[in-house]
Amino acid sequence: MRAVHHLTLPRALHPGAWWLWALGLAVAASRTRNPVLLVLILAVAGFVVAARRSDAPWANSYLAFLKLGLVVIGVRIVLQALLSTRSQGNTLLFTLPQIPLPDWASGVKLGGEVSAEAVVTALYDGGQLAVMLCCIGAANALASPRRLLKSLPGALYEMGVACVVALTFAPQLVTDARRIRGARRLRGRTRGSFRTTAMPVLEGALDRSVELAAAMDSRGYGRTAHVPRRQRRITGASVLLGLLGIMLGVYSLLTDAMAFPVAAGALAFGVLLATGAMAVGRQRVTRTRYRPDPWALPEWLVIGSGAVAAATLIVAAARGVEGLVLPGPLVVPPVPLLPVLGILIGLAPAVAAPPLIRRRELVPA
């Protein structure tokens, strides 16, 4: 067996595999509002993150996304409580002071009676979104988006670098703003204006990007083989068109916005066009890649487990298996056996993904 196929030989898993696996869990979450299943998905993602994350700075993002998810749920519940009508149920929870609205807004109600059904529905709806967010967070924690962009096809490389740079600059802006707000105290100024806060931050960011651009230029970024302009434009246009097709296809598959054959057709057409264009576009690129991440058995197992989780819930939802959708908000959520098993298969990466390379200094001599 080749070294890359070992499940226990430490190495970093291909970032694409992590993202596909997480996407699989997110798709599974999109098919159900049963809180038991949602919490189970959350736990599966959390367990794998805990088992296989590195100690790099981005590895904490699962927690960050978890907090973001709680905020989403909170916002959803507060809004629902403020705007709820009796349409969802009659179990009165409490009564808020109602704000009288003018006649033209007669359909809308602010405050007033809040029903338990409304709050619980909001909790489940928000929970679904929060769990999907956490799946993205898990992917972030296991493989930084930068590493993912590194394995983009050659034709998309330049676009990928632009994204990477943008990704680094966002957190940098936050630290800059904090530092500059502190520095304002040193000039004896209490209140900030656009000029004393935003301007230095933006100027700093601009300076840094110019500096980075200079560094990249001097290190050979953008050296390309000569390709006629016409061909370059055609490839560019077909890549975009192909991506559009993929996006449409995926969106309508997830939301049932279009009939299944149309959506699948759009997806297939998009994939075909994009891959073709990228293959042509590759001629232009003279780059090589340092230690590309291998794609071997562990990667297949990881995306396989994600796919099984997603497929189980898609099929269950399509077949109308009971327990994915609750009959009413205030019933005890059932535990459907088949979906639970499907989701539990998503745990596989905790064993199937190779462990991380331990820091050299920690390894006994």
Binding site: A183, R185, L186, A214, G220
Partner: protein, 533 residues
Amino acid sequence: MIEFNRVTVTYDGAAEPALRDVSFTVPEGELALVVGRTGSGKSTLLRAINGLVPHFTGGTLAGRVLVNGRDTKDYRPRDLADVVGIVGQDPMAGFVTDTVEDELAYSMESLGVPPDVMRRRVEETLDLLGLADVRDRPLTALSGGQRQRTAIGAALTSHPAVLVLDEPTSALDPQAAEEVLAALQRLVHDLGVTVVMAEHRLERVIQYADRVIEISGAVSTGLPADLMVTAPVAPPVVELGRLAGWSPLPLSVRDARRAAGVLRERLGDHRPAPRVAVIGEELARCNDLVVSYGSVPALRGVSVALRAGEVVALMGRNGAGKSTLLNALVGLVQPRSGSVVAAGIDPRRTKPKQLIKAVGLVPQEPADLLYAPTVAEECAGADSDFHVTPGRCRALLERLAPDIDDEMHPRDLSEGQRLCLALAVVLCGAPPLLLLDEPTRGLDYGAKRRLVEILRELAADGHAVVLSTHDVEMVAEVATRVLVLADGELVSDGDTATVIAGSPAFAPQVAKILAPLPFLTVGEVATALERAS
């Protein structure tokens, strides 16, 4: 290898050319040192070598720059990437990827080097620069010296014939600077790389240079020993050599030590006059100060008292907690426990308007203090912020860095000039407690000398000055007391002579040359010699 032929660079909209009629050649395998005042065009010259000037920066370049036979007129920087490697002032700003190994491979990937060659060269470079232990670390988790070596390595892996470095040691502590210089030395000696480097800290690098390119109006080149005989600014080892009349002039501490026997005898029993600080009342005090960022402790129980009339130097490795201590004294960070009192107030609980009358800080990033679109407006703003007579800030700036154009945007100034502007802004408030975070980064000897004068005056007027710095020569000149921080703890606290003279890392050149005699500066030696004769 590098040939400048009557090169004149004029940036768009600038009245004066940044470089005027520059001609010189650097032969293969030499280490050339570019020296000159802050803002004299050193960075422009360096960036002209790989065509960033004018391809990237705009402006016009008259004359010809040839690198390895290629004219930069016809080659863009990216097309010269296989010949010239360039490392900027701030290595962090030039990093494209996020781990050491990927960063080392980046240029090679762009150049299309085959994967097996790439793998081999990365391994070689890791060993050459001593980075093997940190190969899979994120770049943000590296120390200053490791970052600088990674940046050098990243420029080296594509095997360029020329390596260009802009102030590679200015932000580093003495130990890290040693590491970087040792690595460069190896490149020049073992691999025959041609190195062109700009550096203000001549005391660190002059001994390694084969050739000096001096920019001061006109550009002159020469051997370091020849140029140093007449140079208006020179490192302490050279000044001591001139004072003692040594010939040939020694450029390294080792050469000077071998010549110093006679001087030591001449000095005989004479000792430097003790530095007497007129120490007044207590101005600030920290008691058992603990500060942490998240779970990372930055200060663990630091207690220190600062008195009027003192100039205190705060030293220690990058990341030892120097900036945190200064920030705590102005209330920019919240202590986890312990107390801070600065000029009678608690800086965390004071309104900014009252605070600046008590404490002033020049932060590590001087641009943070500057908001106005022109130098003149910035100075006027500072006068009104600090309620002082209009024109005071401008006068201070004129003293620190003469001839800065009033209409310039502060961000277009050179790093050294910008620092002078921030210094002028804070100094014009003349707060009783003045804190300076690395005030010598990018400053030339002239500006440093003027800063020393101003600090001495302030101390004599009863201000307390605290400066965090890696510049041991500056400490030897101005400090009356030295605090050394390590890992967030105070490890030494005493008068300058006792703390720095004995330490291998912090001893100034004069102390190393004349040990065991307790002299720290050339000025002290000169006074003692006068008394001896």
